[in-house]
Subunit: 135 residues, 6 copies
Amino acid sequence: MKVSVFRKAHFNAAHRLYNPAWTDEKNSAVFGKCNNANFHGHNYNLEVKVTGEINPETGYVIDIKELADLIKEEVENRFDHKNLNLDTAEFKNLNPTAENIAVVIYNILRPKLKPALDLQIRLYETDRNFVEFPA
Amino acid sequence: MKVSVFRKAHFNAAHRLYNPAWTDEKNSAVFGKCNNANFHGHNYNLEVKVTGEINPETGYVIDIKELADLIKEEVENRFDHKNLNLDTAEFKNLNPTAENIAVVIYNILRPKLKPALDLQIRLYETDRNFVEFPA
Amino acid sequence: MKVSVFRKAHFNAAHRLYNPAWTDEKNSAVFGKCNNANFHGHNYNLEVKVTGEINPETGYVIDIKELADLIKEEVENRFDHKNLNLDTAEFKNLNPTAENIAVVIYNILRPKLKPALDLQIRLYETDRNFVEFPA
Amino acid sequence: MKVSVFRKAHFNAAHRLYNPAWTDEKNSAVFGKCNNANFHGHNYNLEVKVTGEINPETGYVIDIKELADLIKEEVENRFDHKNLNLDTAEFKNLNPTAENIAVVIYNILRPKLKPALDLQIRLYETDRNFVEFPA
Amino acid sequence: MKVSVFRKAHFNAAHRLYNPAWTDEKNSAVFGKCNNANFHGHNYNLEVKVTGEINPETGYVIDIKELADLIKEEVENRFDHKNLNLDTAEFKNLNPTAENIAVVIYNILRPKLKPALDLQIRLYETDRNFVEFPA
Amino acid sequence: MKVSVFRKAHFNAAHRLYNPAWTDEKNSAVFGKCNNANFHGHNYNLEVKVTGEINPETGYVIDIKELADLIKEEVENRFDHKNLNLDTAEFKNLNPTAENIAVVIYNILRPKLKPALDLQIRLYETDRNFVEFPA
């Protein structure tokens, strides 16, 4: 009897899309406005989904307060009010697209959760553009 | 050619989290503010997902008006403006966590729907905390 | 390592629900207010979900700008500010329920996307009623 | 000590923008897609704001249940699932722009409320376009 | 050159509507489901609006971090996960309608803000019912 | 008979809060995380409110399509996917707080609108923090 528990969080960050293996022309052609060398930014809205059995003693799959604290420590404190390209180890050599950010957040949180729990990340870059990992 | 149909509904209720097998100290340690003996409350937002084949005559998987009426009769009338712990049979002996409420709503609605239809419940306890059953 | 990418769009349209094989009485009994011969209308909110592998060069599953343009050309331009029953080829002989509209949009977009990409459509007819195809 | 009380409601309707004193060409030039002779439609979201003194016995400015019922009877029943141009007396000779619809709703509700209460209407034609009357 | 600054916050609480000067019958007739002796509850969403001149040195009307902290200490900590009728001094002898809660929050925050700043409270009891004070 | 017409728009930008007349220590103490030298960013959501008489021929206060185009040309094209501090003339010497951005947008749009129309700007920096000018 598995239930999924979701927790929303958010962080505000600057980024630019850029592939260092390409010329500036190709970067600009592929990434358009998102390639601006001076960066732009977003309010990233995050939904973390954790799936598992209900503990019959607590009625919880996971204590949502603990999940919220984990997201705060591991994700919000790391990325909030940061420049993803310049201020974070994760995106020094990885293009901070929404897809890659979602995978990075998954990889940060996965080892912090019990193996019996499944994890999925949904990340909103804007109200109209968002991603989910794993699919 | 299966389609899922979703209907949103809501109910406003009081509850407290509490395990009668535990001491007050343990209840308070585990459930924190949610253990308040005088209760607190939420606007519960419910999404009911029903999946099945499109009826070629109507173009419907299910008449959403009938689904809305069913949710009103079976869920909203039962839980709206109630104290889940004190006023409902379902949570007399079951801790009213979001997880358990979702399972209870599933069990209420499941026998009212044709067996060929699949059912999933999403329940928002707050805008930032929600659950889904079955996962 | 598959990721899903979502893009929201919308269109405002008139429609009525109607089965030409039925009498007016049966149409009215089954479809109620939605059968109004003079039509009513909705702000349809659309979420297009595309699932695939991240391209390691771009960090994209799909360029969301291209996806947005595709939705604009193929769906918004076709249905926005239209009467679905009278102005569109797709619903000349198909009842424009939310279910059928979602299937139609799927069938419009599917051949425009690479076969390796999976596609799912979510369509909101109102804030409280929505559908998903495939389920 | 005046307080404002707000109640949200909604109705789904078809309409077209059209000035019978103009040629078809001028109507099309001014109203663009909104002039479609076969109509289009919207989910109109309505916010009714009523301002007055708190009744010390009830703690209410107005019983929101009574306000909700009034809106249902006078506005939702009149306009929901209707073609504003063809099915309603109010817009037989009045162009159903968001501005005019808001004024009409104000004029419908104003005489139903006690003179000591102030009234304001906010009407969303889409999530991005809305109006308020009186300003 | 006055600007208004808004900060959203929220608290989850139980309450019942009740006038001790009335019989149970009258309480039930006037307040309906909201009179349930065992309480029900809401996710109260709060918007605090502070109006004043921009400080040319900071570009702020008020440091929104300080405003958020003030709301947390004075409002959220006082009312979150509480039974408004039983657990709070403010509603021991005052009916906790949305109107009265908004006035109470105004009276709590008003003396904590500089006299040159104007204050207005908007309180959502549900997504569809909300109030504003002062009007 | 004045009506207000609102149009929503948005832009995604990077910024930092910084007063060049202050030491780095004072900047950091006052602006905290928002002072990050490498910038952070937001999805700015904008609501433009225009108030005036309804034109009896069109039923419009202002053609919302023209208003939307004006906002796109004058605000979105200027600020979207930009670094407010580095890429814009407006914030070269003005701290890009939400308050100041709202005033700047007002000053950009005011001369583009007829004098008989009133203008107000609401700007969301996040879902929980927003400003309005004039108050």
